[in-house]
């Protein structure tokens, strides 16, 4: 029961973060910010939601001798968490880098133009 | 109006979407000029057929077509209800569509290879330009 409540709490928390990521994806001004929102928010919230389900599965294990299939599912869910946390940030960071290669300029905050322009020039050349 | 909506669209919304996607794909195959766009259209067209078939095998309130441990144990003990057809989705369309997906990938690979050779020979992927060059081609046969 406690596991179920904990899992529901985790899932709801994950949904909240998903909401944040979604808002960021629509509202942020430029590509890099959106990548940031999508990458971080999505990874974290996926982890939370899946771990919520994993906890629920753990709650289904009543005794270890018969519950091993469910336990296996629990372990597989942990593996999913591991893989998402491995691959999702990789792809986001590669995409941000690729955006730079593709020539997308970040939106520059007023007052910091010089600094960024210098930086951009250095890397582009 | 509403009755036709309820009779014709609501119970068959999958079929409607399949027809819409099929039309989109077929339109792209015929009307798009870029060869890769044509291929995307072709893939959409093929996927829509998968949608038709898989929709056929859906049963209200049925599970996936894999016999779980309890049902298997029951079936082994001779219980007749364990393998009630209403409990499992129709597996046959799934089998057919596995084959169709494979065929789709195979066709896509060959088509992309052809695209690359066409680009190597003509320097373009736009169909009208390719056809234009074909007319003036002096090619040994």
């Amino acid at each position: 029961m406690i596991l179920t409540i904990a899992s529901i709490a985790l899932i709801v928390a994950g949904l909240v973060f998903f909401l944040g990521a979604a808002v960021g994806l629509t509202r942020f001004p430029d590509f890099y910010c959106r990548t940031h929102a999508a990458g971080k928010g999505d990874t974290l919230s996926s982890l939370l939601v899946i771990s919520g389900f994993a906890l629920y599965q753990l709650g289904e294990v009543h005794d270890l001798s018969h519950g091993w299939p469910v336990l296996l599912v629990f372990l597989k869910l942990l593996a999913v968490i591991f893989f998402i946390s491995l691959t999702s940030p990789t792809s986001t960071s590669t995409l941000a880098d690729a955006g730079w290669e593709d020539g997308i300029d970040p939106t520059i905050e007023p007052g910091r133009e010089n600094h960024l322009q210098e930086d951009c020039g250095k890397r582009r050349s | 109006m509403t009755s036709s909506f309820h009779d014709w669209i609501v119970p068959h919304f999958n079929a409607w979407v399949y027809v819409i996607i099929m039309m989109t794909g077929l339109w792209a195959v015929i009307a798009k000029n870029n060869l890769i766009k044509k291929l995307i259209g072709l893939s959409l067209f093929q996927t829509s057929i998968l949608l038709l078939y898989v929709s056929l095998g859906v049963k209200e309130g049925a599970g996936i077509p894999i016999i779980d441990h309890e049902a298997a144990a029951l079936a082994m003990s001779g219980s007749d209800d364990a393998l009630n057809p209403d409990r499992f989705a129709n597996p046959l369309p799934h089998v057919l569509m596995l084959t169709a997906i494979v065929v789709g990938v195979a066709t896509l690979g060959v088509a992309l290879a052809l695209c690359q050779t066409i680009y190597r020979d003509f320097g373009t992927l736009e169909e009208d330009e390719v056809l234009e060059q074909m007319k003036t081609l002096h090619d040994d046969v």
Binding site: - | A28, N34, L50, I64
Partner: protein, 81 residues
């Protein structure tokens, strides 16, 4: 079969299909086509066609997008329509 999932995914599906045909940048078009693959994999899952969904997941995520991108690398990224 989970009907509300089904309807939402079908709507997304049509949107993704149309977008992948409208975008002029072929790289974007093929990636959107990849998203179409993801969505259709979800659709098979909601319809209970697990094996089809599995195949679509491996093919859509692992192979077909990569093949498209490889072809675009060797040809051209822009398209006139």
């Amino acid at each position: 079969m989970i009907v509300p999932f089904d309807i939402l995914i079908l709507i997304f599906l049509v949107v993704a299909a149309v977008i992948s045909l409208c975008v002029k940048d072929l790289l974007a078009a093929t990636m959107v086509f990849g998203a179409y693959g993801f969505l259709i994999c979800l659709l098979w899952a909601t319809m209970g066609a697990v094996d089809v969904a599995f195949t679509e997941a491996t093919v859509g995520a692992g192979v077909s997008t990569v093949l498209f991108v490889a072809t675009i690398l060797n040809t051209r990224r822009k398209s006139t329509d």
